[in-house]
Structure formats: structure tokens, C-alpha cells
Amino acid sequence: MRCAALVVLFACVVGTNPADAYSQFTTNGARLHWDAPRVRWMAVDRSVPGVSAGDLQAALARAFQTWQDLPTASIAFEFAGFTSAEPEDDDDLSVLGFQSHPELERVLGATSFLFDDSTGEIVEADIFFNSQFDWSTSGDPNRFDLQSVAVHEIGHFLGLGHSAIGETELRPEGGRRVLGSGAVMFPISLGRGSIADRTLLPDDIAGVSDLYPDGGFAESTGGVHGRVRHGAAPAVGAHIVAFDLRTRALVGGFALGDNGEFQILGLRPGAYVLRVEPLDDADIDSFFSLDEIAIDTNFQVTYFQRLVAVPAGGVGEAVEIVVRSK
């Protein structure tokens, strides 16, 4: 069985915040987030071929540590032990482990939430890794790397949605193959044997640091904002990537305002190139709830004609980017 996709279970019940960079889950305008300073998690006491329960726990701990180690984000985690509970049980326990989902033939793993829909506070988040696939914790070239997929799913666990920084091609047999990925939170896996997603990229770091800012993040970074227009109409759903000329960091956002507004935050001060592209490298419903938003994908890749200066602690002048039909 070939597999390429990482999706968020229950993505349809949450939207994304048009005012923010990256993709962060929202409910009634509130961003999904943990209020607890230290989030406790449990590992399912179940092994699969190639990965024991101990291996699972160790790989998950390393994946959690990857997010916790960020100096610009304040989130912390604590392993609370093994459990026989299943992911997806609404039991106030955040449980991660293997589960068999033969019906999800392209889904490596998924995250589900229990949250307060008035405040966005996450009460519980569970992650399953589909045991229909071959897993490894040692970088086996013929198996999926558990730690890499766990880093991605823990991004959802924290409240991040999918990033669109990546390029794919259609496979003749269906699905998509990744040509390049610019974020761990890109929805499609780099494939068997790849351990690249054990390491976070600037888009991931900006997203989680915006959600759980620490270390002077808000004061030391800034943003770019504006709107994307397709003729007279807003280019809703356009994907904008800001490229830092000095650090080469790529951070993305979406034009999700009613008038195509976008805002990308968490950028180091400096001069940026802005690139706009249609959302055509993954299924749109892996980013947004389709019944809420009509996404415009019928336009050409476009660069904003000016370099954009991003100040510290604020945003520069609003930019207006005009795209043309394909």
C-alpha cells in the first residue's frame, strides 16, 4: 500500500483564521490552543512490527522535545505513562499510539481534538499512527519514519493546521508525490526512509511561536499584510510565501479575508520577496473547510513587484498583489 498523505481528522469542524499567518485551527474566531503550561501525554502500550511500545514512546518524546526546545515558543510536555486507552476516546487523556485504519489507505496519522468551542482551549488531543503502514524509528529506507510523522502530528496537536509551502506532482496511480517541502506541516509526507521532517523549518517555528510566543518573539519579529486581487475580485485562498533575503527562510500564509486579505507574522525584520501561488499542490480540503470558503486557484504564480520591509514588533505598509488568470 502506498501512502503519502497526512491529514487532520475533524478538520471539517474547525476553520482557519484569515487574520493569521500559517494555518491555525480556529473555532468561533478563537485559535485552538493549550492553556496548560505543561501538556501531559500518554503512549498506547502497543507495538507494531519494527517498533516496540518503548520505541514508540522514545520517538514520541523526541518529537515533543523538538517543539519544546524552540526558544521562541513556551509550550512544554510531560510523558504521563503508558495506557491501554485508545486514541480518539474522549477521556480527557491525550493519547498517542498505533491504530489500524485500513479504510484510510493514504493516511499515515491523524490528530483529533476535544476543545472548548468558546475559548479554543484544547482539553484533549489524540494522535493515531496508522498501523497499516510499515514504521521505523531508525531511518529504515523502506519504512515511514515514526518520529518525522510524529513531529508533524504534534504540530496539529498544538493547534497548527497545514502549511502549503511545498511542490508536488500527480502520480499516475493517484495521489500526489512531493517534489519539495518547505515545512514539516506540509500535508504530504516526503515518503519512506525520509527523516527530514524530524527538523522544524521556519514556517513551522513561526506558526507555533505565534501561537505560544516566548523569548521576545512578538517584539523581535514582524509581519507583512495586504491583499491579493484577481482582477477586480479577491483571490481568496491564494497562498503567499515571504522569502527572507538574508536568512532564506520561507514563511507562508493564506489570503482568506473577504477581500483577499492576508497577514504573515513571525518574520525576522528585513527585506522580503513575496510570491503568490494558487493552492494546487495538495487537496484544498486538507487546508480549509470547503463549505466555508470558495478558493480561487485559477491564476498564475506572481511575485509582488516590490521588496517588502518587515519591521520588528509590527507590520509594514499594506501591499496589494494583483494576479492574472492562467
Partner: protein
């Protein structure tokens, strides 16, 4: 008593046989010129590829455009050949970036922004002739200072360090032994200026070759 008279008589004689005055206390020059563009290097927008390598989303190549610097100098002689100069300069180069090789085939484009650049530095100058000369006086000098770049829209300013090294020639048009203005003339400077730290883009410092013509007045 006789000793005092002797001194009083001798001093005027001595003064008549040597230069009648010391160096000017300060020299002010104002000028404008040309600064070359500066290559800032390439920066690729890379994605992680399946094979562990990279997929280039697009490439960029950046430079500062050539521009016209305006300079104000205050010179303070510290000996017959050495002087200290405080230099203030303003210029408006354009930061230009060419974006190419888009992985989805977008055409090559140039994007840019205007930069307001302010420089204040201090330099030591060595002149190869006396300040009293009525001929062209070549000189060399080097200095270090502070640079601030304000990006278009005024929302972002960045500070860095400037290094200046070069030389030039001063040619006096007026030399007077009395009055507030002791000398006036023209001056030509050529220098290599290097900006480092926060004000650069890309992989290395920005460097400009400059040629500036000035009018100077010494008091």
C-alpha cells in the same frame, strides 16, 4: 629687564622668516559624487526534496544600485600632515533583486525597494604636503563608522558598521594669511566603502567604490 627686551625684539624677526601662522583649525567640505553598485550575492529559496537534497523554488540575486552620495566633512588638523575627519554622508541606493528559475515557470522578474542610507564615520587623513602648500596636495585616509539604512516606507531601519579607505587630492584656489577663511579649494576623493552586519543582504558585506568631488573651506 634687558632679557625681556631682547625677546621682544627677536620674536618679530623670527616670525618674518617662517610661516606666519599655524594650520587652520577646521576645514569644512561639501560634495557629491558617484558610488558604484554592489553585488550582494545569490539566495535560493530551497525546499527539502525527497532524495535528501533540495528543490529550488526560485532563485534570487541581489545588489545595491549605483547612486549619488552626498558628503559633509569636518577636518581637524592634529599635526602638519595628519588630520582627523568626521564624515557624514547620505545616499539613496536601490536594493534590487532579480527573481528567476521559478519551479512553476513564472517569468524572471526584478523587485526592488529604495533605501535611505546615512553614514557617520571618523577617519585619519595623512597629507603628503604641508597644509600651507599652494599646490595640489595628495592624501590618503581610512576610517570606521556607523551606518543606518532606512527601508522604503520608513518602517524598518537597520544599523551596521562602515569601513572606509582611500585617498584623493586637494587643490587650493584661495590661500590667505589673515581673515576667518584661510583657504578655499576643491577636493576629489576616491574610496572603497564596506558596510557590514545588519545592513547587508545575502552572504557578504556590501562594498561600493566612490568618487566624490567637493568644495572645501578652511577656517
Amino acid at each position: 629687564m634687558s632679557f625681556d627686551v631682547f625677546v621682544a625684539l627677536v620674536l618679530p624677526v623670527t616670525a618674518q622668516t617662517r610661516a606666519p601662522r599655524v594650520n587652520p583649525r577646521v576645514e569644512v567640505s561639501v560634495g557629491a559624487g558617484f558610488a558604484s553598485g554592489s553585488d550582494l550575492g545569490d539566495a535560493n529559496a530551497d525546499l527539502r526534496a525527497r532524495d535528501g537534497g533540495t528543490l529550488v523554488l526560485f532563485t534570487t540575486s541581489s545588489k545595491f544600485s549605483s547612486h549619488v552620495p552626498l558628503e559633509l566633512r569636518l577636518g581637524f588638523p592634529v599635526s602638519r600632515s595628519w588630520s582627523f575627519e568626521a564624515v557624514g554622508a547620505f545616499s539613496r541606493p536601490e536594493l534590487q533583486t532579480s527573481v528567476a528559475n521559478d519551479t512553476e515557470g513564472a517569468p524572471t522578474v526584478g523587485v526592488s525597494e529604495r533605501i535611505d542610507r546615512y553614514v557617520v564615520d571618523g577617519a585619519l587623513i595623512y597629507a603628503f604636503d604641508t597644509p600651507q602648500s599652494r599646490r595640489a596636495v595628495p592624501f590618503v585616509g581610512a576610517g570606521i563608522g556607523w551606518v543606518r539604512q532606512v527601508h522604503e516606507g520608513q518602517s524598518l531601519s537597520e544599523d551596521g558598521v562602515s569601513f572606509r579607505g582611500g585617498g584623493g587630492v586637494k587643490y587650493p584656489l584661495v590661500v590667505r594669511n589673515r581673515g576667518a577663511v584661510r583657504r578655499m579649494g576643491i577636493r576629489a576623493d576616491a574610496a572603497l566603502i564596506v558596510f557590514s552586519k545588519a545592513v547587508t543582504v545575502g552572504t557578504g558585506p556590501a562594498s561600493h567604490l566612490t568618487a566624490v568631488g567637493s568644495l572645501y573651506v578652511a577656517f
